[in-house]
């Protein structure tokens, strides 16, 4: 009897100790995660421009840097935002469209070269387009697409095809073929089956593909760095990098302000849609 009364006591104690340990681990993680982010926010509110002397919790906080980004004549921030939006929308639209068609063909038709095509896609998906950056640079230069948004969009769309086509093909494969076969018997043509049966069912994965391709131009740094040369063509990532890079500690607070303005909307979208993004990726990867 004494044993049974003693046991719940020690178990309870162990329980609280464990809970304390868990909460403190989580607390430490919170600090590690939030510190850099809050530090940036604090820095962006500093009136000075340099990293040196800037405080995380500024005593005389101000919004001068935000104002400067939007209203100063020397600031290209809005142009960069516009460029990023153009590239993002174009990439997202074209990539989703082409990926859809390609995935439909690979999922629903048996044609000559299909198997080899799938192998080629798998292989190309492993090779980052970056590997060919030497060639891309020289090629765009000879074709005259260097320093244009068109060149950037073309590369994004082309590079997005192999990986995303696989993702969408995997999803299409999971939609029962009986659906389109019965539609075929009812006399529906190829396009009809595609647009009226498959597309509506594949909406979730298409949303994921569209969103990923929309986000990428906002986040990517290397490709714009290779393709774009003049400041009025910069995308956000590239422009902000040059704030920091040109004169390291001189523009850091401006960079912080610019970063906050881009990080907040993107983080909001990701947090809002994370469930769909992750489940979309997971299903694509395991089914594809």
């Amino acid at each position: 009897m004494s044993q049974t009364t003693k046991k719940p006591m020690s178990r309870k104690k162990k329980n609280t100790l464990e809970l304390i340990a868990m909460y403190s681990i989580i607390g430490v993680m919170f600090v590690i995660i939030l510190y850099p982010l809050l530090w940036t926010l604090g820095l962006s509110l500093n009136p000075g421009r340099g990293l040196f002397g800037a405080e995380m919790i500024p005593t005389d906080w101000s919004l001068v840097h935000y104002e400067w980004l939007f209203f100063s004549e020397n600031s290209d921030y809005l142009t960069w935002y516009r460029n990023s939006l153009i590239v993002a929308i174009a990439t997202s639209a074209f990539a989703t469209m082409i990926v859809c068609f390609t995935a439909y063909a690979f999922s629903r038709y048996r044609f000559k070269g299909r198997k080899n095509g799938l192998y080629a896609f798998l292989l190309l998906q492993m090779f980052p387009i970056l590997m060919a950056m030497v060639a891309l640079y020289i090629l765009l230069n000879t074709v005259g697409l260097l320093d244009t948004l068109t060149g950037l969009i073309l590369i994004y769309v082309g590079g997005a095809i192999p990986m995303n086509a696989f993702l969408v093909k995997g999803y299409f494969d999971s939609i029962p073929r009986e659906l389109d076969e019965s539609a075929k018997i009812d006399g529906a043509g190829h396009f009809r089956i595609f647009f009226q049966i498959l597309l509506p069912l594949a909406k979730p994965i298409l949303a994921v593909v569209a969103l990923f391709n929309f986000m990428q131009p906002f986040m990517d740094f290397l490709l714009p760095r290779i393709v774009l040369r003049s400041p009025e063509n910069y995308t956000l990532a590239l422009g902000l990098f040059n704030f920091v890079n040109d004169e390291f500690s001189n523009n850091f607070t401006r960079f912080a302000a610019g970063s906050i303005l881009i990080a907040v909307p993107i983080a909001a979208v990701y947090l809002f849609l994370q469930r769909y993004l992750i489940s979309g990726l997971a299903s694509g990867a395991t089914k594809g």
């Binding site: 590690i32 982010l37 492993m126 060919a132 095809i161 881009i262 997971a282």
Partner: protein, 436 residues
Amino acid sequence: MAADKEKRQQNVLQRPQHNSALAAGLSIIPGLGQVYNKRYIKGTILFILFAAFIIALFDFLATGLQGLVTLGETPREDDSRVFLSNGILSVILLTFALSMYGITIQDAYKDAKRIQLGWKVPTIKEGFKNAWDTSFPYLLVGPGLALLIFVVVFPLLFMFLLAFTNYNLYNAPPANLLEWVGFSNFTDLFMIAEWRATFLNVLSWTLIWTFVATSLQIALAMFLAILTNDPRLKFKKLIRTVFILPWAVPAFVTILIFSAIFNDNFGAINNDIIEPIFGSGIPWLTDPFWTRFALILIQTWLGFPFVYALFTGVLQGISSDWYEAADMDGANRWQKFRNITFPHLMFATAPLLIMQYSFNFNNFNIIYLFNQGGPAIRGQNAGGSDILISWVYSLTFETQQFNMAAAISIILGLLVATFAFFQFRRSRSFKEEGTF
């Protein structure tokens, strides 16, 4: 399908005089074999298409292929790069044309075989319907394929060929002509002491980086996912949201911020943590070891949330029956983890975890944005934290040694391809192909 059925029903030659070998042989002139099979319209269309192709592109192909061999003859007038790209274009077009040619011959042969078995040549209307049906998938794949060839395959081929030329800062078109130099770029890479030392250093760091950074982020994610899955914990939603934050904030922003936080002289880590405790700061950006150390920490910060979210999703899906049964058998926590949780996590997410490794292998952003691959190291031409891909970048854009950059890219590609090969053989999609 119908033809197959007929074959089975009457495995007798209806028209033995119709010669399938002759049909294929006649197809050496495209379309003639089809005409022999009495498919006149198809034959004519094929003939016109091929004739048009040859007439329109013969000159381009001939000069293109020739240019690929010579790479230009008069300096300052001929641009070797244009010769190279026209040459690649010619090869791609020629491959395409040859495979079409092969298909028409095969088509004539097959049709002839079927005619022997008593197959009726379809009427014009049926013919068009069939042509539409068979060509529809190609129509769908067409635009994507074209773009893929020009934006991905073409540059990769171009890069591949550059590795066998002498294209660098001192020998650059259009002022100079390029020449084929065989494998000398590769032998230089392994024979010249400075290149060899650099290459081996960079390669070993790339492998260490990929393995350590990725494994750490997976381990941390697994630990936290299991921790926050505990039913006794409150505020789960808040905790999970915060844990996913590093994934949601654009990486280039956080990397640049970290590079300021780790700054040797006025970064917060040195000023607020290290110096008060240890008396002097750590040279985060000027010492290779500490740069690498910091990079691994930062990548763990950046990379764990995605894996964490994946794991959390899987954990919530594991049926509690498993654990109840384990409790009944008196299993302890470690046994439950080893035999239930871990296998479940791995089984559901293995392909995505492997993708994390290959992502970090080519994770240019963090290396370049944190410290531009630096600090510089005496006696080698890559920075102390350069991985292969960022080394290629600096060779291309900072020192313009295009030939060496291309050669290293090829080695990089071979590494990736080997990895990809093993990945393929395990990939489910190929095992399951054809089951429906």
